[in-house]
Amino acid sequence: MRSAAGRLFNAAHAAGAAVVRSRLFLKYAALFVAVVCLALLANGLVEFWFSYQDYKALLVRSQREQAVAAAEKIGQFIEGVKGEIGWMTQVPWSEYSREEQYLDALRLLRQVPAITELAQLDPAGHEHMRVSRLVMDVVGSGLDLSREPKFTEAVAHKIYYGPAYFRRDSEPYMTIALAGALRDSGVSVAEVNLKLIWDVVSKIKVGKRGYAYVVDSAGRLIAHPEINLVLRNTNLSQLAQVQTAKAGVPEGSGEQVLVAKDPQGHEVLTAYAPIAPLGWSVFVDLPTEEAYAPLYASVLRSGALLLAGLALAVLAGLFLARRMVVPIQILCEGATRIGGGDFGQRMSIKTGDELEVLGEQFNRMAAHLQDSYANLERKVEERTHQLEAANLSKSRFIAAASHDLRQPLQALGLFVAQLRGRVSAGERERIVDRIGTAVGETNELFNALLGISKLDAGVVEPSLSDFPISRLLQRLETTFTGAAHKQGLRLRVVSSGAWVRSDIILLERILLNVVSNAVRYTSHGGVIVGCRRRGGRLRIEVWDSGPGIPEDQRQKIFDEFYRLAKPERNRGGAIGLGLAIVDRLCRMLDHPIELTSSLGRGSRFTIIVPAAVPQLLSEVATSAQDARDAASGKTVVVVDDAALVLEGMGGLLRRWGFRVVVAQSYKQALAQFGERDKRPDLIVSDFHLPDGETGIEAIEQMRDGFGMSIPAFLVSGDTSPERLREAHAKGYYLLHKPVSPMRLRAVLNQVLNDHAKQRTEEDDDNCSIVALSGISPSPFAQP
């Protein structure tokens, strides 16, 4: 049952622990992953930034170099054409035969495929000859071209590069005119097909898809690997890079490479270089896609590495967090189980660090707990057995008590029945005597029960004092001499001058019981009471010549209602509680009691009492009974809800000389005094009053009402130890109903005397009411 509950409990806690575990686990894992990832990311980004910069610089340089190289090649091409034409102008016109000129022109055409047409002008600017690949040659046309720029410019600057133009609106052409170094060396005018620059341009390879193209000063496309674009006479002056080139950004400024749109509208990384004499520019374009492809690849690679790194970091983080958290989890679960009562739980953590030590400490703690728990269980079990035994004896006690009570009641019933009939005066007296005896027995039984009850409740506090034992011995002698003589026994009390330290009343009670038993159970011979001094102790011994107590019953005689079998004799008045009370009192006073006995010869009870130093006897009032009768002229308030009790007690008290006020509640009582304007001298209250009030409350209300401390005591039919304890706690006597008139009288006198004495003390040294609680009431009243 307990283990099932424990399992449930553990399961519930394990769920809680799992939540916590995942939190801790996530925390550790996240921390680790975050740290590693940050490092990786930072490293990756920095690396990427630097490689990006390096790569861009490299691209810029390489593309720029390509452009310069292309410009050089095209420049060389033009220079080559120029150089070839130069041959035509080296000979002075006058010395150059027309025939030679013609042949040279034809040779030139054959050698330079780019020249489609070549014209030869004389120094005056007249065309003498024109040879062509496409149309018929013209010789001696004499056409006057002296005003044409190709002539004037060539004469002025020795060389003339005409603007690019398009034949039939598609083929790119340029006029190159060259004048000889000599004054009369005529001018050669060549029409150069620029489509042949395509050969140069198309051979320039930039990366995989990069290319070079040439644009003239007006922004028109002159050469492009995609020859269609050239043949379509494309104007590129709107392109950003062409405008930049036209604006003439100085070399090496870094601005020469830029990202722009190419003629087809794709984004390209472009660089250019000027072809100086022509005013043209070579552009080298590389699609950005391709240009940055290695960069992207490297980014992808880095990204992949980073991802792999992150994955590893996560794995490592999870692993480490797990290593960290699993022992903690084991600890947590173990602690939860131990907390849930499973002390057999042991943890196995083999991490070799503080966690392992912690686990071992937990294990040790659990072992300790297990031991203590087992101990506790054993004790509880023992205690339970004791309680059960006590309960059983209580039941037996009650059964016995009710049996013993029934006997005098039965006898009373019979006597009352006899009285109802016709009886003679002598007979009636005899019956009334018997009734008195039965009532006395009942009273005795109740008192004995009350004594046991008081002792069990622990409300009896011994009041120790030093006194001469002779005082008790005398009283024993006076008490029992008559009874012994009646039974034909000899009672001898050996006097002693010893002093003892004990509670005089309780010790007296012990001795009364023991001697009473001895007298009761002894049929012939006698009873001797004497004392022996042994060290610091006094042994008070009670000898009898009774039947003796069998060995096996020597302990039982101290149990309640235990009587030795004694069939031949009327036990008369033996109620079987005497030795039980003796046993309790001796234990309370710490007076060992010894019993020696031999069957048929007699028994000896010995009570061992601490001896005291003898003192001078002073004239002390011997007891409350000797005190002056304080009743005269005093007013007593009696509060009880039972009218019969009020009437009985009121009558009795008035007879004793008290003025009596009876009331059923304290309010009623207060009301009566309010009219009379007098204060009571004593309050006697029932414990249980109507409306749940208690006598204690009633007394206190009245004290408050009169504004002074008034002596009071309680009367109750409730014999429970709690009532006694409550009353004692407040310092009140509690008398149990039925209360004998003598007992009532004794308590009345004592309470009034105590009060008077207390008031005297108060007058003397202002002592407080605390003294009230110090009163040690005699628990037993003499019948």
Partner: protein, 327 residues
């Protein structure tokens, strides 16, 4: 696994990623090839066209199918063949020779046409301009028509004493023939020569023509550009040798086969260019944006053996000018 191996593996994975093969294209396009001649006489030219296509990324049988339509020199069949190709819904028509181009043009105004001929496409109204054709037609012209006066000039240098010249054209290729004739008439007038125009559209007519030429004894013969004639260069060269006719033709093959001289472009070049253009259009270029291309290289080839056999002395300027002299 060592770290380096792991890194290499990752690197490999990264590089390999973009190389996931693309899905195959569902169907391959079909190209219609329309030619006035016959396949057996044009093997080299078809090969040049294939080469051009492959330069643009197309290989027959792999990612392009080609439907060949040969008119076998019967130019009247070209219209029917062009219509057939249109019906077949070919992706593009590559048309060679003026007649074929005109037939294709007549058959469709939507299917892209790549031409490869000797005429001036602007003059014929096929394109708006050479730089921006504008319609569904573009291609290569090798300017044979325009070159005729130049050819006359070069031939005349070799036979400076001649007073008459003859021109051989294919009358069925009427458009080109007319244009050549017009240019040449102007040129002969300039040089003060008379011109005989000879017509031949079949081998029988060809033989008859040379028989007549043998009687006419012109100073020289200019052979006009034409697919029919192009396919019979060897035969014509032999005829000119047989009848001692100094003749000039546009392709080097003529001089190599024993003809006196040739001036013009390289025969296979325009086919290659046409193949490249066809490829570009197949890839997605708009034919209207592709400018008409013209040849840039012209070659003069002189067969000295033939010249000597004809008793002709080659003047120095011609020798200087000649790119190649066959001894």
């Amino acid at each position: 696994m060592k770290r380096r191996d792991f890194v290499r593996l990752l690197g490999g994975a990264t590089v390999a990623w973009p190389l996931v093969p693309r899905a195959q294209q569902p169907a391959i396009p079909t190209l219609g090839f329309l030619h006035a001649g016959s396949p057996e006489r044009n093997v080299d030219l078809v090969a040049a066209f294939h080469q051009g296509l492959s330069e643009s990324g197309y290989v027959e049988g792999r990612n392009i199918a080609i439907e060949y339509c040969w008119a076998e020199d019967r130019y009247d069949r070209l219209s029917a063949l062009a219509a057939h190709l249109v019906r077949r819904k070919v992706t593009l028509i590559a048309a060679t020779s003026t007649g074929a181009v005109l037939a294709a043009r007549q058959a469709t105004s939507t299917i892209p046409i790549v031409f490869n001929f000797a005429s001036d496409p602007v003059e014929l109204g096929l394109v708006a301009s050479l730089s921006r054709p504008g319609g569904n037609i573009t291609g290569i012209t090798f300017l044979s028509g325009e070159l005729a006066p130049k050819q006359l000039e070069l031939l005349h240098k070799l036979v400076p004493t001649a007073s008459t010249m003859a021109l051989l054209v294919n009358p069925t290729n009427s458009t080109l023939a007319e244009s050549v004739l017009r240019d040449l008439q102007m040129a002969t007038r300039r040089l003060g020569l008379r011109l005989h125009v000879m017509l031949a559209s079949s081998e029988r007519e060809l033989n008859q023509t040379f028989a007549i030429l043998a009687q006419l004894q012109p100073g020289g013969l200019i052979i006009g550009a034409d697919a029919f004639l192009d396919g019979r260069i060897g035969q014509i060269a032999a005829l000119t040798v047989r009848y001692l006719l100094p003749a000039i033709y546009q392709f080097r093959e003529f001089a190599a086969a024993g003809g006196l001289m040739s001036y013009g472009t390289i025969h296979t070049d325009p086919y290659r260019e046409a193949g490249i253009y066809a490829g570009k259009i197949l890839v997605g270029a708009n034919p209207g944006d592709l400018p008409v291309q013209q040849p840039t290289k012209f070659k003069l080839v002189i067969n000295l053996k033939t010249a000597r056999a004809f008793g002709l002395e080659v003047p120095r300027p011609l020798l200087v000018r000649a790119d190649e002299v066959i001894e």
